[in-house]
């Protein structure tokens, strides 16, 4: 019985050390910044307007120039505030859009996954500005919320590593050049 205990103990230590080791790779400086967020209630639908500043790392830019499509995801979560327990997530939604470079036309094309629209830009900055401009983004219906309960909304944006080509993914998980994301931007939901 002692041997089994020591085996389990060793395995746990290995897991903890490995986690610490690998988690270090995920730390990165903030590349995406959520500058402004405004929400409004229109016909029982919460609408979001805001702006995000996107800034890619050199590695990401190089990949983009070489034909790799980059997918950006905006994640919005609604949390029910609780006094004794941790906040409970009652609703979440995400929006994805991708940017890729057209070598033939020397244009940057932005595709929104929400409505499948395509926009072309001759410069990267224009394309990023377009992607960062959140206009009249429909979040959720008010009916999903319980009356007289305090809710917090938080949003973050990140580069979707799972959308990268498979050969890039293992490297992307452990490289800070690919860990591009913003901090959570939280605000209290007005009723």
């Amino acid at each position: 019985m002692m041997c089994n205990f020591f085996q389990t103990k060793n395995i746990c230590w290995l897991v903890v050390v490995s986690s610490l080791l690998f988690s270090h790779c995920a730390w990165s400086k903030e590349d995406f910044v959520i500058q402004r967020i405004e929400t409004s209630l229109v016909e029982n639908i919460y609408i979001l307007d805001g702006s995000i500043q996107y800034q890619f790392s050199k590695t990401a830019l190089e990949a983009l120039q070489n034909g790799v499509a980059l997918t950006l995801e905006v994640v919005i979560e609604v949390l029910q505030q609780r006094d004794l327990l941790w906040d409970k997530k009652v609703y979440d939604i995400s929006y994805k859009s991708s940017i890729h470079y057209n070598a033939l036309s020397d244009l940057y094309q932005v595709i929104s996954f929400k409505d499948s629209t395509k926009h072309n830009f001759s410069t990267l900055n224009a394309a990023l500005r377009f992607m960062g401009a959140l206009k009249k983004l429909q979040m959720f219906n008010r009916n999903v919320l319980t009356p007289d309960v305090v809710y917090m909304v938080r949003m973050k944006t990140l580069l979707d590593i799972e959308a990268l080509p498979i050969p890039l993914r293992p490297l992307a998980y452990f490289s800070s050049s690919w860990q591009l994301y913003s901090e959570w931007f939280s605000w209290r939901l007005g009723r």
Partner: protein, 704 residues
């Protein structure tokens, strides 16, 4: 095993995801990689733990641990070598294969194709730009209400899909669209406006509203006005298709070139995972197989240990049909037979033990003495009766030679030398009557011997059985003498009285009738007859007394006091000194006073008779107690300084009718011996150092 199967499945999915990115699994690649990583970690941990456990077992010398480890390592090495070789060469082929995709010539070709497409499109763009400039030159002068119609005409002329006149702020002034339902013109983006604001014309290949590739031209008013004309020309389908395919291929290829190393790394990682799993599986399988193979050997080791510890009926469980199973079966047969042999041996031993115990009891209770000797004539065993008869502890002489026994007890030489002589001559059976003087007394032993065989019937020694027939002989002799005495007394006594009476009658009757010489003769003769008859009566009475066994009156008496009383009666004898030495103040025994007194009287009288005519005659009477602390025997010695006892008479001194005197019945010493023996004592006669007789009496303190 389940873990292995799961991991092999995930590896397969990963592999298919890498090879075909359109595969449904490509989206789960990271999860699969993570699962494999976790699985690998668990596998390595489990194998390391097993390895550690095995190393501990080796350290503590657990049976089979070293063998298992050795076999496992051999299997691992045997598996590792080919796997490693395959891995190395697979990696080489993989890298070379991937490298071959990215031939410089292919890249150049693709670049050229792209450039060609661009050049072709540029030509179109240049033509359309010219056309757009022509149109803006024409329409910029027109009034506003004519613009739309004019634009429509120009649009149709040049097969544009849209022509729109903008102000420099991006506000549409007039527009014409091939699609009548499209009311709003294609808007100018801020970036486009910014670009135009710098005074540059805009001409790009774009995808407009999902309607395929278009050439979008925006030119400024060449006359310097603020107007801008946007013209959108569709790219011919064929060119669009070709250009699009070139673009797609080129993009894909460029992406691949960019991912060249990453691709190689990904394949290498996957191949390495496969290798690692193969190795781990090989290691696990190696140790599992080694354990399975060693398990029956361990059972055999355990079984062997049990047998060496004396557990002979150990049976091992075997479910194998191979050589090891056969070995286990053979082991089981062996232990079964061992158990049977052991049981039989135990039964035989028990039988032997019980026989030995039986023999021991029989021998112990035998009244005959039994002594055994080995072939070297060394003493082996004896029973209690032998020690009792001889009066020595024979067990002290175990494995001793006869010489040793005689050396310690020379008085037994008369017994052991004849025994040795018979055994040396290898007489199988013999019987002899031997006389010894052991244990302070004379003993007559009847000895019988025979060869002692061993279990195989070969002679292994000798067994001597002897009985002390001294008492038997003595009793027989006494009985015979007693019977003779009784008969003699009876037969002789009867005629004596008539003879005496007749002689007295003759004397009485005839003596008054005859005178002179005849009277004298008659008187003398009758007197002689009467005296001799009296003497014969006396002799007959003595015989009667010897023959009869009187009632003993046993009382405690002080021997020393009795001796004093007896000696007192002879103090008047001036020519003999009778000296009494009592070494203890009081010697109390249980005896018949009268008969003991008779003994002392007889012995003193004999001594006096022997000392007749001897100068300085002396009789020394010594009384003592043997075994000083616990007085069990009283010894009374009568020593005189007379002529002693003749050697030829010494053995028969106490026989009836044994006398050297001219007168006397010859029964004195016989009666003395009889009385002493009736008291359970012994009497012996020898010559003292001074030459006189030495009579030693030993009486028990408690007379039996």
């Amino acid at each position: 095993m389940i873990l292995f199967i799961i991991l092999i499945g995930t590896l397969d999915l990963m592999s298919s995801a890498i090879q075909n990115t359109d595969n449904a699994n490509s989206g789960q690649y990271s999860s699969l990689l993570f699962i494999n990583g976790i699985g690998l970690f668990i596998l390595i941990s489990l194998i390391a733990a097993n390895f550690f456990k095995m190393a501990q077992q080796c350290r503590y010398r657990v049976p089979g641990a070293k063998l298992t480890l050795r076999m496992g390592l051999v299997f691992v090495v045997v598996a590792l070598v080919p796997v490693s070789v395959v891995y190395y060469y697979s990696l080489q082929f993989l890298n070379r294969g991937i490298d071959s995709w990215f031939d410089v010539r292919i890249e150049e070709g693709l670049q050229n194709a792209l450039d060609l497409s661009r050049a072709s499109l540029d030509l179109n763009i240049a033509e359309h730009k010219r056309q757009t400039e022509e149109v803006i030159e024409s329409v910029v002068q027109l009034p506003e209400n004519m613009l739309a119609i004019n634009l429509g005409e120009w649009r149709a002329k040049y097969n544009a899909s849209e022509m729109t006149l903008f102000t420099n702020t991006g506000k549409a002034v007039a527009s014409s669209n091939v699609n009548q339902g499209q009311i709003l013109p294609t808007r100018l983006s801020e970036e486009t406006l910014f670009h135009l604001g710098l005074g540059n014309d805009y001409f790009k290949l774009e995808t407009i509203r999902e309607e395929g590739m278009h050439i979008r031209i925006i030119v400024h008013d060449p006359s310097g006005g603020s107007a801008m004309l946007q013209a959108i020309f569709p790219v011919p389908k064929r060119i669009e298709t070709l250009a699009d395919s070139v673009k797609t291929v080129f993009t894909k290829h460029r992406e691949r070139v960019f991912l060249h190393n990453a691709l190689k790394d990904t394949f290498t990682v996957t191949l390495s995972l496969v290798l690692l799993f193969s190795i781990l599986f090989a290691v696990w399988a190696a140790f599992y197989s080694a354990k399975r193979m060693v398990a029956p050997i361990l059972d055999l080791v355990e079984g062997t240990r049990a047998v060496s510890a004396g557990i002979y009926d150990k049976q091992l469980v075997s479910t194998r049909n191979d050589d090891l199973g056969g070995l286990v079966q053979a082991f089981n047969d062996m232990t079964k037979r061992l158990a049977q042999a052991r049981n039989e041996s135990q039964r035989a031993q028990q039988k032997v033990e019980s026989q030995r115990a039986y023999l021991q009891v029989v021998l112990s209770n035998l009244s005959s003495g039994v002594i055994t000797f080995d072939l070297d004539l060394r003493f082996r065993t004896s029973n209690d009766a032998a020690s009792e008869i001889l009066g020595i502890d024979l067990k002290l002489f175990r494995r001793s030679s006869i010489q040793k026994i005689v050396q310690v007890y020379p008085s037994y030489s008369n017994l052991f030398w004849p025994l040795q002589e018979h055994m040396i001559t290898s007489e199988k059976e013999w019987s002899e009557q031997l006389e010894i003087f052991g244990a302070g007394k004379r003993q007559v032993l009847i000895c019988r011997s025979t060869a002692l065989p061993d279990g195989a019937g070969i002679q292994s020694g000798y067994v001597v059985v002897f009985d002390d027939i001294t008492n038997l002989i003595q009793a027989q002799r006494n009985s015979a003498w007693g019977e003779v005495a009784r008969r003699l007394a009876h037969e002789i006594k009867n005629p004596l009285t008539p003879i005496q009476l007749s002689a007295e009658r003759l004397r009485r009757k005839l003596l008054v009738k005859i005178e002179g010489k005849d009277a004298t003769i008659l008187e003398k003769s009758t007197n002689t007859i009467i005296q001799q008859v009296e003497a014969m009566k006396e002799m007959v009475n003595a015989f009667s007394e010897y023959a009869k066994t009187p009632q003993m009156n046993i009382v405690p008496l002080d021997v020393n006091q009795l001796l004093e009383d007896v000696v007192e009666l002879y103090q008047h004898k001036k020519d003999v000194v009778i000296e009494l030495k009592a070494n203890r103040q009081e010697l109390t025994i249980k005896a018949d006073t009268v008969r003991l007194r008779q003994v002392f009287h007889n012995l003193i009288k004999n001594a006096l008779e022997a000392l007749d005519g001897v100068e300085n005659a002396k009789i020394e009477i010594v009384s003592n107690c043997t075994e000083s602390n616990s007085c069990q025997f009283v010894e009374i010695d009568f020593i005189d300084n007379g002529p002693g006892i003749a050697d030829n008479l010494i053995n028969q001194l106490f026989e009836p009718y044994m006398t050297t005197k001219t007168k006397g019945t010859g029964l004195g010493l016989a009666i003395v011996k009889k009385i002493i023996e009736e008291h359970g004592g012994v009497i012996s006669a020898s010559n003292s150092d001074g030459g006189g007789a030495f009579i030693a009496i030993r009486l028990p303190v408690n007379s039996s």
